[in-house]
Symmetry: C2
Amino acid sequence: MSEAIEFSAWAHERARHFEWLAETMLPKPGQEPKRLVGAMRYAVLGGGKRIRPLLCYAAGEISRAPAERLNRAALALEFIHSYSLVHDDMPAMDNDTLRRGRPTTHVRYGEAEAMLAGDALQAEAFAVLAGIDDPAAGMRLVGTLARGAGVFGMCGGQSLDLAMVGEKPDEAELARMQSMKTGALILAAVLMGAQAGDWDALTPETKTGLVRYAQSIGIAFQVVDDILDCTQDTATLGKTAGKDEKDDKPTWVSFLGLEGAKARAESLLNEALEALALIGRDPAVEAGALRRLEEIAHYVTSRTH
Amino acid sequence: MSEAIEFSAWAHERARHFEWLAETMLPKPGQEPKRLVGAMRYAVLGGGKRIRPLLCYAAGEISRAPAERLNRAALALEFIHSYSLVHDDMPAMDNDTLRRGRPTTHVRYGEAEAMLAGDALQAEAFAVLAGIDDPAAGMRLVGTLARGAGVFGMCGGQSLDLAMVGEKPDEAELARMQSMKTGALILAAVLMGAQAGDWDALTPETKTGLVRYAQSIGIAFQVVDDILDCTQDTATLGKTAGKDEKDDKPTWVSFLGLEGAKARAESLLNEALEALALIGRDPAVEAGALRRLEEIAHYVTSRTH
């Protein structure tokens, strides 16, 4: 198999595994409180790229993290990501009606239940981490996830995004907002994968390398998102295409042009690969442990939806 | 000093201490992201009865919990409680405009920022717990708080409350909804106080006693809330009075009548005190350690706002 096909098979298997895991760990359909359980399952199950779980599983190979802990970290990350989409799609925020090719959660369940489903998913994220066997590893994961999701992470980025409406932010402001809004949880995903294993055995250079890798991937993900928003159609994306331009939102394409944005994605890919090369020098990191992170970097910058 | 005055002085001191603590641990005014930080501080600071922190500090005496861990548990509990008020007050839920004598958070900061402030406060609750020195205690607290706040706790109760609109629930359904909506976090407060200390030294009977105490207090708190809603005015309550009857909501007063509700509060007080008597037999529990929990039970059932 070619590398790309082999990666695609791995990613597909991991995404299927994650779907099974989430299906198993979420409350069952029909269980009380029925409406809330239904809305939570609707928000999490049924697709999505599962980038954060993939990053978490891939980073776990660096520190030989046990599968059970990685599963819990991956679930917690995706519960947080899913809740943020539910709240972000609501009328008070982006007012989106389509997500992953289906009506958004508040369209399907009403605004009140959607807000609660998001709230409950955030609580469940931490409940899942509380089940981790090793308290020291569990506490590291709780701290990393909470910081990634909170006021100086994802929520803070959303707030800065709101503040930009009607403003003309410069490139640095856009980058800063995105590094919090989406970057913080991507960073948490990479760190949590490594922290689920023998974190203390890793060198400071490796830890720095992981942060640099995650930061590059995080921005690259946004740059590619902006490129896709103006080059793909709604059916391919599973969400409303062309929305950025229609909303007069500043994007990487509006700052750099389409070709400039593509070149930026390429240079961010190179930065991510350089960061991994740094990690490769750590004697605690086994040969081959970086392969999936490399492949994810290529995937993030070459994806078509 | 009489017991009631002495308790009142303790509760006042704890509430002031808590205010200082929250002031210190929340991001500072003017810190970026400014709007979000402002909304979070507005939601938490400036009053409230701080019942959950009081219960947490009081229960901590049973297991001789260290002050630093109790502080973090109390903060986490009140961050969760404050976020739930912010989201509950929003137009999609209860549509309340007055809380603690001031405009609600969404009235002051807008709906989008209020939703984010609630989300960020939930994340900060777990970030605060992640700073606890002892990982085993920290993980117990994370699990208890997450379960209290989640789908089978507070959020689940809110969802059942929504489902009751326009329905005629019976007394058992009302009790079940409230045991989740407010009872679950009150239970978490009592358990977290005890779990912040030497939890493993307590007997199973003591742990059962704590649960029974918290459950009685939790219902009593609601019964008294319903009594106050129809006997006090808006200025005394700091929130809109007479709202239950106006909204045609089922309450303990509508089920039991005003005198019946008062009798119920009295019998719940007795149940709470009996549960404490059970705990008093545990050799690991020092004489005097139950005093504050007893006083809180009296306070909850005799409060006037």
